[in-house]
Symmetry: C3
C-alpha cells in the first residue's frame, strides 16, 4: 500500500506546519535527500521525567512525526515520493535522572513505520539535551531519501 | 552577485582556521557534499543565559560562520563552488532556564544568507547542550552541497 | 594494507552487535552512504568527570568504534568496501564542569584511523549531553561512504 493510501486508511489528517522559530527552512532538498529541520510540538513543554511524563513525550514525538510528514508532503507534493526514511536525531529535554530517551523517540519512529512500512525504518540516535527552544520537551530532525 | 564578490562588498576578511582540538578533519568531502566539523569561537566561553548574554552568543555564532567560510574556501578553493548550504546543527552551552537557542544560532544562519543569498538558506536544529569543548558557548557543524 | 588485513594485524576480533534499544535499524544504506545509528557501550555508565574517568570514557568510545565496525561488516560484507569514514557525532554524558569531550571521542576516531588509515579520518563534533540512554557514558553515530 502506498504511504498516501496508508495515511487515509489510518484516518490521519496532516496538521498545518508550525512556523519556523528562526532564520531557517523547514527542509532543504539536496540531490535526492531531503534534510528536515528539527521540529517541535509547542503544546508539550517542560523536562521529561519531571513536568512531562514518558507517555506525553511519546505523544509529542508522534506529533512531530506528523509535522514532518506535512513538511515532506509540502516539499515533494506526495508522500509516495519517499524512497526511505534514512536517519533521525531525536532530542529530549530531560530532567536529572531521566534516561528513557529511546522510548520517547519511538513515538516518531513507530509512526514512520506505520505510514511507510519497511521504508520507514531508519538509523537513529535518541539523546537527552540540556534545553530545547522555548522549553519544549522533544525535537526531532531527519533525513529522507527521495525517489529519482 | 557571487559569494566571493559579496564577501568583498561586505568588507569581510576571512579569519585563520582555528586548530582542531582532537583527532579529526576540519571537513570531509564525500561525493558533492562537504561535511564541516563542529567549529567553536574560543574567545566566547561560559553558559549562555548566565556568564554569556544572548547578544555575545549570537556574535560567537556569526564568528563560527566566518570560520566555516574559511574552511570551505580552503577545501574548495572558492566560496563560489558552494551550490547550497544544506543543513546546520547549532549547539549552545545553556544555563538552566535559557531556551532561546534559535536566536543564538541565527548569528550563523544570517551570515550564510548574507553571503550566499537564497543558496545560504538551510535546514537546521538549534539546541542546548550540557557542555561544549573547553567550556565554549557555541558550536556549529554543517553540510554544504558543492557544484558539480 | 586493506582494512580487513589491518584488523587481523592488530589482532582485533569484532564484537557481537548489541541489540537496538528501540524501534530503529543499526544502520541504513542510502545511495553510497551508510548511516550508522548511535551506538553505546552498556558496560560504561554514569557521568564522565564524576563516576567515570576520561580514560574509561575513551575506552568506551573505542569499544563503540568496534561495535560500529561490526555493524559496517554486517551491512557491507567486508570493511574493505568502506571508501571513507565521513562524519561522526560523539556524545558524552558529562558531569557539571567536564568539558574534555574531544579527548573522549578520540577513542573512536583513533581506532578508525588505525583500521582505515587516511580513509578513517573524518569530520566530527564531540559534545556534552544532559543524558544518554540507560545512563551510558558515551554514544557515537557516524556516516560512512561506501565504494561504488
Amino acid at each position: 500500500m502506498s504511504a498516501e493510501a496508508k495515511l487515509k486508511e489510518l484516518g490521519i489528517e496532516l496538521p498545518e506546519i508550525p512556523t519556523a522559530g528562526g532564520n531557517y527552512l523547514h527542509a532543504c532538498l539536496s540531490g535526492n535527500h531531503l534534510y528536515l529541520s528539527g521540529k517541535v510540538d509547542r503544546s508539550v513543554k517542560g523536562k521529561v521525567g519531571a513536568e512531562v511524563s514518558l507517555e506525553e513525550a511519546y505523544g509529542a514525538a508522534r506529533q512531530i512525526g506528523l509535522f514532518q510528514l506535512a513538511v515532506i508532503k509540502e516539499e515533494l507534493g506526495s508522500l509516495d515520493r519517499v524512497k526511505q526514511v534514512v536517519k533521525a536525531l531525536g532530542m529530549v529535554n530531560t530532567a536529572e535522572g531521566f534516561d528513557k530517551t529511546p522510548a520517547v523517540i519511538n513515538g516518531f519512529s513507530d509512526l514512520m513505520i506505520e505510514v511507510f512500512g519497511d521504508s520507514g525504518r531508519h538509523a537513529r540516535s535518541a539523546v537527552g539535551m540540556a534545553s530545547l527552544p522555548n522549553n519544549v520537551s522533544v525535537e526531532i530532525e531527519a533525513i529522507v531519501e527521495v525517489m529519482d
